[in-house]
């Protein structure tokens, strides 16, 4: 079950999105995330949905695979919806019982927030689905390169990120193994109240940390043995350079952001309270 977490994992396929320069994808994702907060009307959401659907189509990543990536954030989503729903007091009261009150504004914010969060996650996971961590690292490194002048260790940070991503599936597998081993020894992970359950995580986390440190040590040694000595003097196997398709992609995204902003603002479309 724990291996189902697909967030942040590369999905190999041959699509136009996979071939784009990672810098394009990074900047576009950022613009897309910002664009989600530029509108508050249903027309804006329609445009955003269409755009996202188009991108998913172009990425050739199966929709089911993307949805699977949403599972781990369900809890977060529910908490957000809950607070927005019951704690926003704005407009007409739709529902009232004991201490629970749902207002028009609350319902609207809750729904918008949920959609935004889901789009946010899908948008950013599409980037990681279509970009190998190494490309991602290269992209970040090149985008942030100017920071090197003020002594920010850009290359090192980028390398750390790519290694972290590489080890996600390995550590997940390990967690699974440790859980099974502890269950075999009679550990009870499923029942009990919140506190007991958190407590029962300790015998899983401790060996996981120990093994993670051991792995880190091994990996550092293996990297040194292969002459890794920081970013200086390193060449690239896949150096980044913009092509026509990258320029077109930039344009598409900019047009979308402006479009969604304008349509969200000036196209009045009202359905019930939304």
């Amino acid at each position: 079950m724990i291996r189902d977490i697909t967030i942040g994992q590369y999905y190999p396929a041959k699509s136009i999105l996979h071939r784009l320069d990672p810098r394009v994808k990074l900047v576009s994702t950022l613009l897309y995330l910002i664009s989600l907060f530029l509108f508050r009307s249903i027309s804006g959401y329609i445009v955003a949905t269409l755009f996202l659907a188009g991108i998913i189509r172009a990425s050739k990543v199966p929709f089911r695979h993307i949805v699977k990536g949403l599972k781990p954030i369900i809890m977060l989503l529910m908490i957000t919806v809950f607070f927005n729903l019951f704690l926003t007091r704005d407009g007409e009261v739709l529902f009232h019982k004991w201490i629970f009150t749902i207002t028009e504004g609350g319902l609207r914010t809750a729904v918008y927030m949920a959609i935004r969060l889901i789009y946010l996650i899908i948008g950013s996971s599409l980037m990681t689905f279509t970009t190998t961590p190494n490309e991602l690292t290269d992209g970040i490194e090149k985008l942030l390169y100017p920071l090197n002048r003020i002594h920010v260790p850009v290359h090192e940070v980028a390398m750390m990120m790519s290694i972290a991503l590489r080890f996600i599936p390995i550590l997940l597998e390990e967690t699974d193994k440790i859980m099974k081993a502890q269950i075999a020894r009679g550990a009870d992970l499923e029942s009990g109240n919140m506190v007991q359950r958190v407590k029962s995580m300790i015998p899983i986390l401790v060996p996981l940390f120990v093994s993670a440190f051991r792995r880190a040590n091994d990996l550092a040694m293996a990297m040194e043995a292969r002459c890794y000595r920081g970013g200086e003097g390193r060449t690239k196997m896949k150096p980044l350079c913009y092509r026509t398709r990258d320029r077109i992609a930039y344009m598409v995204v900019i047009v979308y952001v402006i479009g969604v902003f304008l349509i969200g603002k000036y196209v009045p479309l009202r359905v019930w309270i939304f």
């Binding site: 590369y10 190999p12 190998t132 961590p133 190494n134 790519s162 290694i163 991503l165 590489r166 599936p169 390995i170 792995r215 091994d218 990996l219 040694m221 293996a222 990297m223 040194e224 043995a225 292969r226 002459c227 890794y228 000595r229 003097g233 390193r234 060449t235 690239k236 196997m237 896949k238 150096p239």
Partner: protein, 283 residues
């Protein structure tokens, strides 16, 4: 020419108590002398804690000698300015395949070494392709290493070292975490590399069957080299090997038992076919 030369190599590490105070030193390697010529296939055998892995790490300058010297391709590993040259001439493959693959795609991982060396982009691609072909993993070049079997992962790790074009490859128990099929796969790859590229190979292991093709075997125990010689010389001393807690291959063991019972066959038989031939000649 000597590829690797260790003279009176001693390595000590500090023993500490729980507060981190030094309570003494422990010798992991004790006056070891080793000579490896270019193109040789050398095996180092030893039980757990015999110091064989520590020795391997000296060849790659991950550890430097406390006393004595190690020279790799004529370069002293103690000199900091030679560090990267030493590491380039002696590539190293470790035990756990998961913990030495850095890339998330096979070809990117193989390219990691050449990238670090500052090889121009075109040449990196050429080297990656060549080394993946050499280990027979070219058809997996776009795959994620996580989905490969243990043996395949280890072959990718070997390709990663080969792409750095080292003169010598040190394999530190590369088969210890693999199943029998994976073990054979890795050994066959190493064998093929030797034939094609004429690299010097140093194989550290505790599986005796893996070393019968070696040019020379060193047996280590408690940080010392206790036996050295050709496989035939080593395997004819079955009782001595057992004393160092090493398992002799079954054929050798059987031949040895037969010889003790008075059957007239030579000592140090390594292969099944060999034993069969000798036994048939008896009748």
């Amino acid at each position: 020419m000597n590829m690797i030369q260790a003279e009176k190599l001693i390595f000590e590490y500090e023993k500490r108590d729980e507060e981190g105070n030094v309570v003494g030193t422990s010798r992991a390697i004790d006056e070891v002398d080793i000579d490896v010529k270019e193109g040789q296939f050398i095996a180092v055998l030893g039980h757990n804690g015999s110091g064989k892995s520590t020795l391997a790490k000296h060849i790659n300058a991950i550890l430097v000698p406390t006393e004595g010297t190690v020279r790799v391709d004529g370069r002293d590993t103690k000199k900091p300015e030679e560090l990267w040259n030493v590491r380039q001439s002696a590539g190293m493959v470790f035990q756990n395949p998961d913990n030495q693959i850095i890339g998330t795609v096979v070809e990117e991982d193989v390219g990691f070494g050449p990238e670090n060396l500052g090889v121009p982009t075109d040449e990196i691609w050429q080297r990656v392709e060549e080394s993946l072909k050499a280990v027979g993993m070219i058809s997996y070049r776009h795959h994620s290493p996580n989905k490969l079997s243990g043996g395949q992962k280890q072959r990718v790790a070997i390709a990663g070292v080969v792409a750095m074009e080292p003169k010598c490859i040190v394999l530190d128990e590369p088969t210890a975490m693999l199943d029998p099929a994976g073990r054979k796969e890795v050994l066959r790859t190493v064998q093929k590399l030797r034939e094609k590229k004429n690299v010097t190979v140093i194989l550290i292991t505790h599986y005796m069957e893996e070393v019968i093709d070696a040019d020379k075997i060193y047996v280590m125990d408690h940080g010392r080299v206790v036996m050295e010689g050709t496989p035939r010389e080593i395997f004819s001393r079955v009782d001595e090997l057992k004393g160092y807690r090493l398992d002799v291959p079954q054929v050798t063991l059987l031949a040895d038992e037969l010889r003790k019972r008075g059957v007239d066959i030579p000592a140090g038989i390594l292969r099944k076919e060999e034993l069969v031939r000798h036994l048939c000649q008896l009748g």
